[in-house]
């Protein structure tokens, strides 16, 4: 059945964004209302799409220069995209509502909601695209909405820099992405996913070429999903408003890279060498980010590094050739990470925008619901049974155990670290004595912010159970090693929990001190140096050559030759520009006459 419904789902938030920019910009309340209404509409539409079997959408043409290039605008509606559709609009709707409270008094509220709606549009586009070019279009739009939202408080230098950094890092990844698309396109002659899958034979006969193409495409995912070594933008992106961190930089956009990899799984899995590189990059990201997270003091940065680490798990799963396991973890992670960020947001707001965990403490009693829901998120994240994260992380660990023991050990170590840094966070923030005046006077957030927490806590707890997952996925059946892997994972988690409680109970400051971790392995410093040393130097050299050699030397030299002509003009005492122009015109006419007609 062909239907326009998926297009409505896609374009509803877009129209909301346009309406806000063009009409309601100065009516802040109306702007937020339009935005929330559009996302609720989209969510309802998504649910309808989800339950309609065999739904198809109309296909439009973007560029048609057949037989060379045909770029359709078509929507893919399979189980994968339907699941993402519901996930994105569902969490999106909750975060829109939460934003009503969080951004209540913000001067740029209209701009915020316009960008948020625009983000929903772009993200849904990524999910629904049925070809590489269309996906790239929305991919970039997602990037720009992220830029706008990170830089929402653009008058702060840190936010302005973070926005720029995010966009540029993603551009570097996209450089590879486009090249990969070009390579896949030239070999298969199409950019539409399902046609490409049919033409796969034309590219698999060149294994080296295919490996390079896949790794380049992975570059794009590495940028968007913040994988090592392109991970540096995500922690800084926390300069944006907290709901944005929850929606974009935890639950949905950063997962777009993983989603894309799963979408083109047919291509990736045909290149075994590329696969193992991808798996290792995921593993490195997971371990590295978890190590960094153990020494962060900003509550949002801890969560950001934890996001990095979890994304590493997902990429690891992709690299181990199981798109299902990656999507399963993406699914559960979206709920509990959004929940954690929103919880952090309500703490931050109630403590007058204090983000340092060492200035908090003893909040468990004062922020009861926030505390309880935050605990649900924490237990899900560290993979404590029977919370959702336990099942999805277990699936990945079992996969690693089966395919690559080294990766399995590192994944287990990451699980231990995850439990450690999250419990450190919980113990320091919620227990002990308040360490600042704000912490002493904080109160629970308003209901418009608390309700989304409660709603999110339900799937954060339950989305791992079999009766839920079978609605959304076709997971591979239980494997025999199940008990061994789960046991080891649980042991790692419990060790992490115990260690963190013992170390951080009743502390006033951090007993551990690892500069290397606190500074994130000095990546920012290294990149800063590299950029200055290469691009900065090259730019200055080019500018210098252009100004002083090409221009002054070469051109002024050449114009010296024309100087005689200029003096001639002065001799005629008509050295003004107008007269010169007139003579010049005359000269041309004369020249034409003499060369052509004599």
């Amino acid at each position: 059945m062909s239907s326009a419904l998926p297009w409505y789902v896609l374009f509803l938030p877009f129209f909301a964004a346009v309406a806000i920019v063009l009409i309601t910009k100065s009516y802040r309340g109306l702007s937020s209302f339009i935005s929330v209404a559009s996302v609720l509409g989209s969510f309802a539409g998504s649910c309808l799409v989800f339950v309609t079997p065999n739904i198809r959408a109309l296909e439009l043409t973007w560029i048609d220069l057949r037989p060379v290039l045909y770029v359709p605008l078509g929507l893919v509606l399979d189980d994968l995209s339907k699941t993402m559709l519901v996930l994105v609009t569902g969490i999106g709707a909750l975060i829109h509502i939460y934003s009503l409270g969080y951004m209540k008094d913000d001067a740029g509220k209209s701009r915020y909601f316009a960008s948020l709606s625009f983000f929903m549009f772009s993200m849904l586009g990524v999910v629904l695209s049925n070809n590489f070019v269309m996906m790239f279009i929305f991919w970039e739009l997602v990037g720009v909405s992220s830029y706008l939202l990170i830089g929402h408080w653009f008058e702060r230098d840190a936010a302005a820099e973070a926005a720029k950094k995010a966009f540029l890092t993603n551009r570097v990844g996209d450089f590879g992405f486009v090249l990969g698309i070009l390579m896949a396109w030239t070999a298969t002659g199409t950019i539409v996913f399902h046609e490409m899958a049919q033409q796969l034979g034309r590219i698999t006969s060149y294994p080296g070429y295919l490996t390079v193409a896949v790794l380049l495409i992975f570059c794009g995912a590495g940028g968007k999903s913040a994988q090592f070594p392109l991970h540096v933008w995500l922690p800084d992106a926390m300069e944006g408003p907290t709901p944005i961190s929850a929606l974009i930089h935890a639950a949905t956009m950063v997962a777009a890279g993983v989603y894309m990899l799963v979408r083109v799984g047919f291509l990736i899995q045909a290149a075994p060498q590329a696969l193992s590189i991808i798996a290792w990059i995921g593993t490195i990201t997971a371990v590295m980010a978890a190590l960094i997270a153990t020494q962060q003091n900003d509550i949002k940065r801890i969560l950001a590094y934890s996001t990095l680490s979890q994304l590493g798990y997902m990429v690891m799963a992709v690299g181990l050739a199981s798109g299902e396991a990656a999507m399963f973890h993406l699914f559960t992670h979206a709920f509990f990470k959004a929940l954690l960020f929103l919880g952090a947001g309500s703490i931050i707001v109630m403590l007058n925008h204090e983000q340092n965990i060492w200035k908090m403490g003893g909040l468990a009693g004062r922020l009861g619901i926030t505390f309880l829901t935050f605990m649900v998120g924490t237990l899900a994240l560290i993979g404590f049974p029977p919370f959702s994260g336990f099942f999805s992380k277990d699936a990945i660990l079992a996969l690693a155990y089966e395919k690559n023991q080294k990766i399995f050990c590192l994944a287990l170590f990451t699980a231990f670290l995850t439990a450690f840094y999250m419990l450190r966070l919980v113990v320091v923030v919620f227990f002990g004595k308040p360490r600042s005046d704000q912490a002493r006077s904080g109160r629970e957030a308003p209901w418009v912010m608390i309700t989304p927490l409660i709603v999110l806590a339900i799937p954060a707890f339950a989305s791992g159970f079999g009766f839920v997952t079978k609605l959304f996925f076709h997971l591979p059946g239980e494997n025999e090693t199940g008990w061994l892997v789960s046991g080891l994972a649980l042991a790692a988690t419990l060790t992490g929990i115990t260690l963190a409680i013992l170390l951080y109970r009743r502390r006033e400051s951090d007993p551990l001190d690892f500069d290397l971790f606190r500074k994130g392995f000095y990546f920012d410093e290294i990149y800063g140096f590299l950029i200055r040393a290469t691009q900065g130097v090259l730019a200055s050299i080019s500018a210098f050559i252009d100004r002083w050699i090409l221009d002054v030397g070469f051109v002024r030299g050449a114009s010296g030759a024309t100087w005689g002509f200029g003096s001639l003009l002065r001799l005629l005492q008509v050295g003004t520009l107008q007269a010169y122009s007139f003579l010049f015109g005359l000269g041309i006419v004369g020249l034409i006459y003499f060369t052509l007609f004599r």
């Binding site: 702060r156 396109w185 520009l577 034409i592």
Partner: protein, 491 residues
């Protein structure tokens, strides 16, 4: 007839202003009427047809086979549309002119009329002459109403572009003489038929001369150093018109004459052209990053982006040339808007030094929005026409001679050009960052936003770019018949 109106409306209006009509109002009306007429031509144009439409011809001299012939195909139609839109915007953007206001508007209108004439002419003689007509007022605008070191900049651009025009003229004469005497003609259509008579050894040298001539006019590396200085000194409307429209004459000439008439010459020199255009993209791109003033940076960026259009021309594929045409249009719109906003900022702050500015987004939200849209358009954000053009150019180039076993120069060029996309994001975002973001400096807290009326030209420019960005097929449909005739018979 409609073409006659489009070409002569600005010129007649210029004459009327000389006689004494109120300058601004007349100019605006003329630009508006021209835009309306161009839109009419656009709407009544029969897309998908080969050959020229709306032809009107007046013989001048049968001995010399010169006739004043106007006619358009898809390519020239889009050039006319671009000219009409940018002219309208440039004239609307023009603020108060302190001295000789009449002459200022006359110059703007003459540039517009000249460009229109050049794009609509089917006769070599008028094609060239109209362009000259448009060039001279450009020099005057910079020399008389410019800022900074305007006299030097005016001299430089004059000498430079005059040299370019002269070389171009030589090339055109060579082209004219390369066919046997009986077949010679100034008429594009006749020339096209006689193209097969041009001996292949002559094609190479003619193409090279044309490439240098046109190249200088379009600021092809290493003939580009006139551009940044000229645009920085020029009054904003002049920079809008020249960078947006008039400069594109060289690219139009390559697409209109050099590619179809000298296909072997084009092939012979494609490697050289690719090396030079990579100079535009990489070398000039890096130089752009190092710029410290917004106007210089925009000038350099416009030089850099010419590289992508040249890449489309050099790609030797239908896809690439279509992309080049779309990029010409898209770049014209985005750079015009950027120069327009930069001019408004200079008017208010008196400086365009990036380190002096900052936080203007707070006090000039409308300017920030417009500049942001244009900046993102120019770095190829999807949704804007620039992106669609770049996609076609890059895909077209990469496709040429692609082979999974090895890369040819076309693939290498694509890779470097793609890196250029990263470079352009670096300098544009840096500019946005240092002009509009951050804390508002004390000296700028009283700066006023754009006047409300500017919504109209900004809206038209942005809408155009968005339209062809969202629906590039509507552009491709119009221009592709022209290019299909270039590539159809494998020669």
């Amino acid at each position: 007839m409609i073409l006659l109106f489009i070409v002569f409306c600005p010129i007649v209006a210029a004459l009327v202003i000389v006689i004494g009509a109120p300058a601004r109002r007349t100019a605006l009306w003329a630009a508006g009427l021209t835009l309306a007429a161009t839109m009419l031509a656009y709407l009544t144009f029969e897309a998908g047809q080969r050959g020229f439409q709306f032809i009107s011809s007046y013989p001048i001299s049968s001995d010399w086979r010169i006739s004043f012939t106007l006619g358009i195909d898809g390519l020239s139609l889009m050039m006319l549309l671009l000219t009409a839109i940018v002219t309208f915007a440039a004239i609307w953007f023009t603020g108060e002119i302190a001295q000789r206001e009449h002459a200022f508007y006359v110059c703007l209108l003459l540039i517009s009329g000249g460009a229109m004439g050049a794009f609509a002419s089917l006769d070599l003689f008028f094609f060239y002459a109209f362009h000259e007509l448009a060039l001279i007022p450009t020099f005057l605008l910079i020399g008389i109403w410019g800022t900074g070191n305007r006299q030097a900049a005016a001299w430089k651009i004059t000498i430079y572009l005059a040299t370019g025009s002269f070389i171009l003229l030589l090339g055109l004469i060579m082209l004219y003489r390369s066919v046997p005497e009986a077949a010679r003609s100034f008429d594009f259509r006749t020339l096209q038929k006689a193209a097969s008579l041009i001996p292949s050894d002559a094609q190479g040298s003619i193409f090279l001369v044309l490439l240098i001539g046109f190249g200088i006019l379009v600021s092809l590396f290493p003939f580009h150093t006139w551009a940044p200085e000229a645009y920085a000194s020029a009054p904003a409307p002049a920079a809008m018109l020249h960078a947006g429209v008039l400069k594109k004459f060289g690219l139009y000439g390559l697409l209109r004459l050099a590619l179809p008439l000298l296909p072997q010459g084009a092939q012979q020199w494609s490697t050289l052209l690719i090396v030079l255009l990579l100079g535009n993209i990489i070398y000039v791109g890096l130089a752009t990053i190092a710029q410290k003033r917004l106007d210089w940076m925009l000038g350099y960026s416009s030089v850099m982006h010419m590289g992508y259009i040249f890449l489309g021309i050099a790609s030797g594929t239908l896809l690439g040339t279509n992309g080049a045409a779309l990029l010409i249009f898209a770049h014209g719109i985005s750079i015009a808007l950027l120069f327009g906003i930069a001019g408004e900022i200079r008017q208010r702050t008196g400086t365009l030094l990036l380190t002096d500015l900052g936080g203007l987004g707070k006090v000039m939200p409308r300017a920030a929005l417009a500049f942001g849209l244009a900046a993102f358009a120019s770095i190829g954000l999807p949704g804007f026409a620039n992106f669609s053009g770049e996609v076609m150019v890059l895909f077209g180039t990469f496709r040429n001679g692609a082979n999974p076993d090895r890369f040819t120069i076309f693939q290498v060029a694509t890779v470097l050009a793609l890196w250029g996309v990263v470079i352009s994001a670096v300098y544009m975002l840096r500019a946005c960052r240092s002009v509009f973001m951050g804390a508002v400096g004390e000296s700028w807290s009283g700066v006023t936003d754009l006047r409300r009326g500017l919504r109209v030209p900004i809206g038209i420019l942005v809408a155009m770019s968005l339209w062809f960005g969202f629906v590039p097929q509507s552009f491709v449909q119009i221009v592709s018949p022209t290019f299909k005739s270039y590539f159809a018979p494998k020669r």
